[in-house]
């Protein structure tokens, strides 16, 4: 032993001596590095020497806990090799030549640096040294290792003005991770707000075969501002860039004008796919001075040019507020695939109603080469959508482009084209006006390989559509033209500069389909066709599904420059349905093949309307081509009628109007702007219903339930949706099922008390049992006698009811059961307990029925009640209530199931939902613990469980009162919880 006492200090001394002079692993080490190394002025301390993070043993982590100090690294800092270290401080500034380094260089993986900071936050100044955690793959395990992990978790702002690199350095090494969070939550409450600003390069790249890394920027309660390049590209595939902000997000521009966010499959890789860029903002997303740099997640080509290239990546920009991506060709969002690969996906969206979305940069999810597949571009606005630049999801097999808005949509110059060429789909829609001002809408097909038809262009509007735009869904070779479907709730104007091309291929392709509708489906709206609309075909005679043209509106006006041409296919047709009338100007042309009796220009008009000039039609309009129909006076009355087009706002309600209050019509008015009755009445007497004039949307607020408070926390009141009155829907009885206690609920806080009754004793507590004896005689009759024994409790306890379904054979059942109903009444002045006992005997005769179950298939008896044990007894299903702990746990499980099945909105949001679930999880764990415990520990655990359950009940009552929990769900939860409490209480007391 003495020897050991000598050796230990000796070893420690040797170890200490072996460490480099500047080796540190604790804050104390740093503070002891000398006056020229560590200086403090007030609360701010400056480290002026580069220190080597050297744990006592290689690989151990080090923590530098500087407490509440603000630390400045100026001409000094930490270098750690591949080690891990953490700095804790109030704030950290990496100043001129300041160093944070944990690089494995070309030899080993990068290390790990974690900065845990208070409200002082992190500032990395531009003149700081590169924060370097680059690293190599693990020798012998090439796809492990790579760049290190740099984590910032700060209560204050994080300003990254100096660069950070966590790149992989060797061919197979993957990029590392840069995980930055500013601001913090304590539960659901924002404990500290922080912003994240990036104005220097952050790189987490992989090399030839290594995938890119990950960069996350999170601003809890604050903003994210990116002003320089973040690069997670990799030869093994792009990595991920994710930003989340409670406030706005700025996607700016780099000082050099290069791309801003890069998650490319690097060109050094073989068919590497693009990575992921995910931007979410609870506020707005904008550029810097109106410009957003390029966002890239492109796939790379294959090394062998005939192989498929990598796929484009995924770029998602989502905000609750407005989004503006601007800058024209200086910016752009590109998720295109490599040669012969697949395009990626781009989704740009605003969630809140009224939040506008402007796309002023090109969006690309295209791919090139035979066999390539186009990607998908979704532009979805909760307000208006304005597209001012090109969108491309083209490929050999075209992709899809959707531009949708809750209100107006505008496609405008300088955009040249919205493309899903290769036979894809372009969809443009708006709840209000849709303006197509210039750019080509194209889902054309350039391949002459059979089976490559033109695609589809669909334009829908709740209001009017004005189009001065080329549309192309044509096809090549033997392929069929695609479809153009334009439908406006109000007017539709196709101006003279417009060309709608749905031609089939010139080598036998069918013409496509052109459908132009105004006033769709039953509103007043007129169609003006002044441009060219053609769907010509070259198909062999009598080929089915020929070209067709359809014009439908109240008034159809084909101007002098207007053309509808479906010639070529022998069975092609045009149909013009005018609910009011048709005007065809001289010079206009409505033409179809006319070579077959079925190939005609058909015109449908209201009775009495003038027939248009037959000469404007080819073949000329014949009397049999024109059909007159009655105007509807009600839905399809008379049958086949044409819906009239009354003037909304003239004060007269005319079908199909349901109201017309003249000038009083409008948004949120009893009569809407389209003369349809409008009401926000949800037929719930508890809610105050209103309409938001900004959005035109109904809002329903329960104003009654929050007032339903009888100032008694032992009861729960809520509004009756029929009467609108408060009513008590739950009473906390506090029944512990113990005859020898007086149960009471305290109105002040809803807590239960169970006061022992002096002199009262419970003699026995035998769990009730059910015994069944059967005597079966030979057919045709059988007799089954079932005897249910009463619980052998002298003071009698509640006997669980066993439900036995009808016997399978003719039988006479005589059952005798004793049921005790406990009525516990409480008052604040005294205690009374009333016990009543009811004995029932029953006799029943039932007819012969087939067995409803067999013992080897008891699942047939599942009554979906977790709190019964289902079995098959003598061909009958028996549902025996669970007892004791099982009865508690099944109810707790039922609560959990109910909470998990409910949408978060039904319980006031995700966090309340989780809180409630956690309460039950804890109550369950305590119950289980109590089940296995004995004596006082058992009582203690179950007591805790009971208190947890009581708190849950109070929380549910409170939540339901405040209308945060849906009444139905609240009642269900309370029912289960009170049931569990009732079962639990006697277990607590051991009765």
């Amino acid at each position: 032993m003495p020897m050991k006492r000598v050796l230990v200090p000796l070893v420690l001394a040797l170890l200490a001596a072996a460490r480099p002079a500047a080796a540190v692993c604790t804050a104390a080490d740093v503070m002891a590095c000398g006056p020229n190394c560590w200086k403090c002025v007030g609360n701010t301390c400056t480290l002026g020497k580069l220190l080597t993070v050297t744990p006592p043993m290689p690989g151990a982590p080090c923590t530098f806990d500087f407490g509440t100090r603000d630390v400045v690294l100026n001409s000094g800092g930490f270098t750690a090799g591949q080690n891990a270290f953490e700095i804790k401080a109030h704030g950290l500034t990496v100043d001129g030549s300041g160093t944070l380094k944990a690089t494995g260089n070309q030899l080993t993986p990068g290390g790990m640096i974690t900065l845990t900071l208070g409200s002082g936050g992190l500032k990395v100044l531009a003149n700081a040294n590169l924060i370097d955690l680059t690293g190599a793959e693990v020798i012998g395990n090439p796809f492990a290792g790579g760049g290190g992990t740099f984590t910032v978790q700060s209560d204050g702002d994080v300003v990254l003005g100096g660069g950070i690199a966590v790149d992989g350095t060797t061919p197979n090494a993957q990029g590392g991770s840069i995980l930055v969070t500013a601001g913090r939550y304590a539960g659901t409450v924002l404990a500290a707000a922080g912003n994240v600003t990036v104005s220097a390069n952050l790189t987490a790249t992989g090399k030839a075969n290594g995938p890119g890394g990950m960069v996350t920027l999170t601003a809890n309660g604050g903003k994210v501002d990116v002003e320089d390049r973040i690069d997670v590209s990799g030869g093994g595939g792009g990595g991920s860039i994710c930003t989340t902000s409670d406030g706005d997000t700025t996607l700016g521009t780099t000082p050099t004008g290069g791309p801003l966010l890069v998650a490319d499959g690097a060109m050094s890789g073989d068919a590497a796919s693009g990575g992921c860029i995910d931007v979410f903002s609870s506020g707005n997303v904008t550029g810097k001075n109106g410009v957003t740099g390029r966002l890239l997640a492109r796939g790379s080509n294959a090394f062998i040019t005939t192989d498929g290239g990598g796929c484009g990546g995924m770029i998602d920009i989502e905000a609750l507020g407005p989004v503006m991506l601007e800058g024209g060709s200086n910016g752009g969002v590109d998720a295109s695939g490599g040669q012969l690969g697949g395009g990626g996906t781009i989704c740009v969206s605003t969630d809140n109603i009224g939040s506008d979305l402007t796309v002023g940069v090109p969006l690309a999810a295209s791919a090139a080469g035979l066999g390539s597949v186009g990607g998908c571009v979704d532009v979805c606005s909760g307000g208006r959508a304005v597209v001012q630049d090109d969108i491309d999801a083209s490929a050999n097999c075209g992709g899809a482009v959707c531009v949708d808005a809750f209100f107006d949509t505008s496609l405008a110059a300088p955009a040249q084209a919205i493309r899903a060429d290769g036979g894809g789909n372009v969809e443009v829609s708006g709840g209000g006006l849709v303006t197509l001002a210039g750019p080509l809408l194209s889902a054309a097909q350039s391949s002459s390989v059979p089976g490559s038809p033109g695609g589809g262009v669909t334009v829908l509007a709740g209001g009017s559509i004005s189009a001065s735009v080329p549309v192309d869904v044509s096809a090549f070779g033997p392929n069929n033209g695609g479809s153009v479907d334009v439908s406006a709730g109000k007017d539709l104007a196709i101006d003279a500069s417009s060309t709608l091309n749905a031609d089939g291929g010139r080598s036998g392709g069918l013409g496509g389909a052109i459908s132009l509708r105004a006033g769709d489906p039953d509103l007043p709206g007129n169609l003006a066709l002044n441009g060219l609309a053609h769907a010509t075909g070259t198909s062999p005679p009598n080929t089915p599904n020929p070209a067709l043209g359809l014009l439908q509106a109240c008034t159809i006006h084909v101007g002098a420059t207007g053309v509808l041409d479906t010639r070529g296919d022998t069975l092609a047709t045009n149909t013009l349905i005018a609910r009011t009338g048709i005007t065809v100007d001289p010079g206009a042309l409505v033409a179809t093949t006319g070579a077959d009796a079925k190939s005609r220009n058909f015109v449908i008009l209201p009775t009495g309307a003038p027939t248009p000039n037959p000469g404007a039609f080819s073949p000329p309009l014949a009397p049999t081509d024109v059909q007159f129909r009655a105007v509807c006076t009600g839905p399809n009355q008379p049958a086949g009628c044409l819906i009239p087009c009354p003037t909304c706002g003239n004060g007269q309600t005319e079908y199909p109007e349901t109201c017309d209050n003249g000038a009083a019509n409008g948004t949120c008015q009893p009569c809407s702007a389209i003369c349809r009755t409008f009401s926000c009445d949800d037929h719930n007497a508890c809610t105050t219903d209103s309409c938001n004039p900004a959005t035109g949307q109904c809002e329903h607020v329960d104003t009654v339930t929050p007032t339903c408070d009888d100032h008694n926390n032992c009861t729960f009141e809520q509004c009756n949706t029929v009467t609108g009155q408060c009513e008590t829907t739950f009473v906390q009885t506090c029944n512990d099922m113990n005859q020898c206690t007086t149960d009471a609920c305290a109105p002040a806080d809803g807590s239960c008390s169970h006061t022992p009754i002096p002199g009262c004793t419970t003699t026995t507590t035998t769990l009730p049992t059910t015994s069944t004896t059967s005597t079966t005689t030979t057919a045709p009759s059988a007799s089954t006698t079932t005897v249910t024994q009463p619980p052998t409790t002298t003071t009698t306890g509640a006997a669980p009811t066993t439900t036995v379904t009808q016997p399978p054979t003719t039988s006479t059942t005589v059952g005798t059961s004793t049921t005790t109903t406990l009525l516990a009444t409480t008052s604040t002045t005294g205690v009374s307990s009333t016990t009543s006992s009811t004995t029932t005997a029953s006799s029943s005769t039932s007819t012969t029925q087939p067995p409803e179950c067999t013992p080897d298939a008891p699942a047939a008896c599942d009554d979906l009640d977790l709190c019964t044990r289902d079995s098959c007894l003598g061909g009958r299903c028996v549902h025996e209530p669970l007892l004791s702990f099982d009865a508690v746990l099944c109810r707790l499980d039922g609560i959990t199931a109910a909470l998990q099945a409910a949408p978060a909105t039904a319980v006031g949001g995700n966090r309340p939902q989780h809180k409630l679930e956690n309460a039950i999880v804890k109550a369950r764990a305590l119950t289980v613990a109590g089940q296995t415990a004995q004596g006082k520990r058992r009582v203690k655990q179950l007591g805790k469980a009971g208190r947890k359950l009581g708190a849950f009940i109070r929380a549910v009552m409170k939540g339901t009162r405040a209308s945060k929990i849906q009444p139905g769900l609240g009642a269900r939860l309370l029912s289960l919880a009170s049931g569990a409490m009732s079962e639990l209480t006697p277990l607590r007391t051991g009765s």
């Binding site: 290689p58 492990a144 992990t149 978790q153 304590a186 697949g342 949708d404 969809e427």
Partner: protein, 337 residues
């Protein structure tokens, strides 16, 4: 933990580091109570167990117990960092770890993690982050809830995720990528964006119990990549698509989408094979599949889908009149057979 002879050479190389970590912590000198430490059931190769606290580095397998302070109160930053020489199993044993909207609940830096429930990871910036070919082996019976971004984020090879739940996360419940991974018996509910975001190559999605996505803000399932196989997926009440696939050479079987704000099943790409899928009562289209070399293997159907399009929910009158069957179920240019 497997014996040394079973470990790869690289793992053997890291063992001394782990031992060093253990010595530094379990045996070494005094450290601040909040210092980053190593923890695990065997931190030194001599079965020395060190309970885990917030921010610790897990260097060996561990079954969480009451002694693990990480289960006691929310973590200021990261929960646990996995930096192990080889495979480690972290069994939650019914416990939960909670964050404060920062850091990662379980961050895998080195090693290969098997995560075993029942257990909960909630309230972090991200629930689990595992990147690297072998970073994750399996996740079974876990719950990821209320994390700011993703519940479970994995980019790796050959891992499995089973019987787990992701709820109320700020972006995706399960964000899984890589190659040859398997996902079955999981549920994603109430996540802000996708319930399941599945990317990469060769994923086996379902096949046993199937997966379920309910009431997620956007799509229930979002599948991207190639050579995936989906057998059994249920999407109910999601805000975007029920099931969205942008894939090449994928097999989509027994997918059911219901009550979605958009289309039930929307798939695009090349070489998609569909069988036995159904879509009911969705606001958009029922089943709509487009692309090249599509294979309708039958049994696909739609009912009661309204076919509304766009944010404003506008009716496609022409399609309703000319080919109403296409609103319910459409594969290629024809209705489903």
């Amino acid at each position: 933990m497997p014996s040394d002879t079973r470990r790869p050479a690289s793992a053997r190389g890291i063992v001394p580091l782990a031992l060093a970590l253990a010595v530094a912590l379990g045996v070494g000198g005094v450290r601040p109570a909040t210092a980053m430490r190593a923890c695990g059931d065997d931190v030194d190769g001599h079965r020395t167990a060190v309970p885990c606290a917030c921010g610790d580095i897990l260097v060996s397998s561990r079954t969480l117990r009451a002694a693990d302070r990480i289960t006691h109160k929310p973590c200021r930053g990261d929960g646990l960092v996995i930096a192990a020489p080889g495979p480690v199993t972290l069994a939650f044993n019914g416990h939960a770890i909670r964050g404060q909207g920062q850091g990662v609940g379980i961050l895998v830096v080195r090693g290969s993690l098997s995560l075993s429930g029942p257990g909960t990871i909630e309230g972090f910036g991200m629930g689990v982050l595992a990147r690297g070919a072998t970073a994750l082996a399996s996740v079974v019976g876990m719950r990821f809830s209320g994390n700011r971004m993703y519940g479970l984020y994995v980019d790796g090879d050959g891992y499995t995720v089973q019987g787990s739940v992701a709820e109320g996360n700020g972006r995706d419940g399960f964000a899984l990528g890589g190659t040859r991974y398997a996902v079955d018996g999981n549920r994603a509910a109430g996540n802000r964006r996708y319930g399941f975001s599945l990317t990469g190559t060769g994923a086996h999605v379902g096949g046993g119990l199937g997966n379920e996505a309910v009431n997620n803000g956007k799509s229930g399932f979002w599948l991207y990549g190639m050579m995936h196989e989906v057998v059994g997926a249920t999407a109910v009440g999601n805000g975007g698509y029920g099931f969205y696939a942008m894939a090449m050479h994928a097999r989509l079987v027994d997918i059911h989408a219901e009550g979605t704000a958009g289309s039930g099943l929307r798939a695009m790409g090349m070489g998609l094979a569909l069988e036995g899928n159904s879509a009911t009562a969705n606001s958009g289209f029922g089943i709509w599949v487009s692309g090249a070399m599509l294979d309708d293997r039958g049994g696909n159907s739609g009912a009661d889908n309204t076919g509304l399009m766009g944010e404003a929910g506008l009716p496609p009158t022409t399609l309703r009149e000319t080919a109403p069957a296409l609103i319910q179920c459409r594969i290629g240019t024809a209705s489903c057979r």
